[in-house]
Amino acid sequence: MDFVLVQLLTGLAAASSLFLVASGLTVIFGVTRVVNFSHGSLYMLGAYIGWSLLTRLPREPEWFALGVVATALATGGIGVLLETTLLRRIYRAPELLQLLATFGVVLMVQDIVLKLWGPADLSLPRPRWLRSFVVIAGERVPFFDLVLIGIGPLVLLALWLLFTRTRWGTLVRAATQDRDMVAALGVDQRLLFTSVFALGAALAGMGGALALPDGSANLQMDLTVITDAFVVVVVGGLGSVAGAYLASLLIALLQAFGIVLLPKITLVLVFAVMAVVLVLRPNGLLGRPPAEARGEAHVLALIRPASRALRLLGAAALVAALLAPLLAGPFLLSVLTEMLVAVLFAASLHFMMGPGGMASFGHAAWFGLGAYGAAFAAKFLLLPMPAGLVAAPLAAGAAAALFGWFVVRLSGVYLAMLTLAFAQIVWAAMFQSVEITGGDNGILGVWPAAWAADPRVFYWLTLALCVAGTLLLRRMLYAPFGYALRAARDSALRAEAVGLDTTRIRLAAFTLAGTAAGLAGGLSAYSNGSVFPTYISIGRSVDALVMVLLGGVQTIAGPVVGALAYTGLFDALLLVTDLWRLVLGAAIVVLVLAFPQGIAGTVQRLWLRGREA
């Protein structure tokens, strides 16, 4: 029993830590609808700034508290900077574009922090009071744990008072429910957004500073915390602060007791919890169904047949791609092969995300399952490469159909996060099944068949399959199925009222997208000669998202352009600079500002305007 009590307290302390980060994220999302990927970066900055302040301050508790508050103010200030210089310019852009912008910020902050604070982990020397403990039920409970246990509910209370007892809070709540209404009431929305973002950033920074007594400021903490924070926010219900606290409790307590019973569950627990919650409650624990955002219709562009000029351009690009091996060296060829794979991967995500309206944060699941499907076929069934390349899309498609059954019933960020949960479950399965998959060391020796061993031949094969796959997806979008899919996205109500089974249509699209991603994964497996769990990692899913958003969600050429631009930039920068993250991040930010509809989307818009003028 004593152990249960102690573990309960430990769980409560962990819950508070989680809540501090998640509360800021949920407040920001609730009001601005920004999926703030850089929230983890603000948390990391909080830890580093906190370290710099607290190591210089006296070691007494009151100075510690002051240092934490100062850190929160500092990150709040960084939040203001971020909001006014970047996010404010793109609120009118298509949904999720802000995610792309904040992803650029994540990359930049990683290099900036490395430059400012160096590569070593920085730990804050703990004064005596931070090391002290209280004996409860015969067990030592760290004093700081008790502090944290108190801070969580205090912050919750403070936020509640702020939102219910102040005019500002009333406006924020109103904005959470209906942005347009608040704007119509003549409230300065810009100021409201900026202040909300500052509050969220300050909470993140405070969370980072408060993580110092238990650990260190390090360069991995941004990405470590961001996924957990998102899970908490989604499980709690987007925009619900109380829900975030409830979700933090649920996850932290399950974790505290879960690792006693099943020590290896650490990899997957939070995602399994999220999957279960979302399947049972599609809007999280305390979330409300999202109100149909007004004015969104304007964002949806018509899909017209490609113009003559675009067709010529495409044909020219294809000819160039066909002839490339005659000029390109082996390395350039491998980069081009990678680009082709990326094109199909991005096109497959675009298929469900653009016309299907189903953004996914876990698209790497299907890419990875395709890769593993090919690797299993090659290594265990000893099948030749063509069979492996058939197995890849089939395996991915079957899994997508299975998981999709749950996924397509959801919408928006909830849907995206459920795909992430499934992707993480798949990842953990591949990671943990060491006997079959080799765990994180992966499966090696998945090299192409002898007839395709020449990089040029393999390139042409990849070109054929990826171009065919991408064109097939494109063709489907112009076919009745594609119209039905867009119909389900544009107005599910109307679609059902003209006899369309929107659930089935969305599931079919999800499965097709998974199948195509699986083919891309299979090609990638043979092209790299190996398969790893990293193929299913969050980073890989983010890559797909970045490519689609960079190119433009609303144009069919978008994912192609985005994939070429992103992989091209990445590969080139990796060769020329140590600071590739800084440059790539800055490039993404600039591209977002210059092409708010995505590269292809904005170019198309300018082109059409030019023709109509």
């Binding site: 982990d121 020397p125 760290p142 390090n218 390395f331 491998s334 990678e338 994180d440």
Partner: protein, 401 residues
């Protein structure tokens, strides 16, 4: 911060400025391709880079090898195996490097090793600890410098047995390195100390340890001793919670890698005393070779070397020695010539084993202690890699023919 590329370019520029010398030697520099996770794992790889930069400088100052200078072409793999493989291709085909080297992560190391096998090019791995690199997946062209997870466990197991503890628990990051350390440690300790029991295990996800809960769960098993394989940020969290909650009091702790400066330094004045660890007692080594290395490193970078620096430095000297013995940079000649080559490292002499291409570079085993508010290693001894490897026939069975 000192950044490699700038110094590298400066070095290259220096050579270009003296073309007469190069021409006099009648040849171009030997090109060593190097790949590592510079942005993904900077805490280790930044000192590592400084280590090989120093070695390159020293080797070239001493006239290079085979009458040629050496040159390192370095790439960042961002911690992603597929990117590492592509970059290996770039180094091979575009940069025309004579051999490949580097890597930190085991999966990246294994991927490049497989690439090297496919392309019949030499690959000298520095840091990756996976046993598979030279055993299950070993091949003619792959070499690995550092003591593997097996060797790390084997080096610690003697002292662990001396603890005479019956009930053990383990805490280890949940991936191949952690799993492998625990597997070997259990196996070797059980052989040495019959009747030993492993009564609990914790597998925190790398970088995501829930330290309070982990510590409480370990204490719950009422162990006599603890095996730890966490490192980096996880280790700091674990030690702090363990200290406050008294997990380590009256218990023996055996801890892999913890004595390495990159992981010991962040523990600061909370470094627990008396842990049996592998590492690098950089502040107290007495061996003249090691001291010379430390002095040279300090002179160049104005800080003490870390374990990564040693690996980076020894990687270059081990390659240079292999090339010298082979008398050529032809891949087949190097694959024949590297085995048996002896090289100097900051830790002393080592060689490339002919049996499995494992380097015999060892590491220090000692106890952690606090000195002036900082963690350090005491009662240390250097364990040569040769002494921490299984019998030859066992190795032969694990290595594919």
């Amino acid at each position: 911060m000192r950044i490699s590329r700038r110094t590298l370019i400066a070095g290259t520029a220096g050579m270009l400025a003296a073309p007469a010398i190069v021409r006099a030697q009648g040849s171009t520099p030997i090109r060593i391709g190097e790949i590592n996770s510079y942005t993904a794992i900077p805490a280790f790889t930044v000192p590592y880079r400084m280590g090989w930069q120093l070695a390159v400088e020293q080797v070239n100052a001493a006239g290079g090898v085979l009458g040629r200078k050496i040159e390192v072409i370095s790439r960042d793999d961002a911690g992603r195996p597929p990117d590492a493989i592509r970059l290996a291709g770039e180094l091979l085909n575009d940069q025309k490097v004579d051999l490949l080297s580097g890597t930190f992560l085991s999966n990246v190391g294994l991927a490049i090793s497989d690439f090297a096998k496919q392309n019949r090019k030499l690959f000298v791995a520095g840091e990756p600890l996976s046993d598979a690199l030279v055993w299950e997946n070993g091949h003619r062209y792959a070499f690995r410098l550092r003591p593997s997870t097996y060797m790390q466990a084997a080096m610690l197991v003697d002292d662990a047995a001396k603890l005479n503890a019956k009930r053990w628990v383990t805490v280890s990051p949940n991936y191949e390195y952690g799993q492998s350390v625990v597997k070997w440690f259990k196996q070797l300790l059980a052989a040495k100390q019959p009747g030993v029991e492993f009564v609990g295990e914790q597998w925190p996800a790398l970088g995501k340890i829930d330290a309070g809960a982990t510590v409480a769960a370990l204490a719950q098993a009422k162990p006599d001793a603890i095996l730890n394989a966490t490192f980096g940020p996880d280790l700091t969290n674990f030690v702090r919670q363990g200290n406050t909650r008294g997990l380590f009091e009256g218990r023996g702790v055996v801890s892999v890698l913890t004595g390495e400066p990159e992981y010991l330094e962040p523990l600061g004045d909370e470094t627990p005393e008396g842990w049996i660890v592998t590492g690098y007692p950089v502040d107290s080594v007495t061996d003249p070779t090691n001291k010379a290395f430390i002095e040279a490193y300090k002179a160049k970078f104005n800080e003490l070397p870390k374990m990564g620096s040693v690996v980076g430095h020894a990687l270059i000297t081990s390659i240079v020695a292999g090339i010298a013995k082979s008398g050529s940079v032809d891949t087949e000649k190097m694959a024949d010539g590297f085995p048996g080559a002896t090289f100097d490292t900051p830790f002393g002499k080592a060689n490339w084993r002919a049996l499995d291409h494992q380097g015999t570079l060892g590491t220090y085993v000692g106890k952690t202690a606090l000195k002036g508010g900082k963690g350090t290693m005491v009662d240390w001894r250097y364990v040569d890699g040769t002494d921490a490897l299984p019998p030859d026939d066992v190795v032969r069975k694990m290595r594919p023919a």
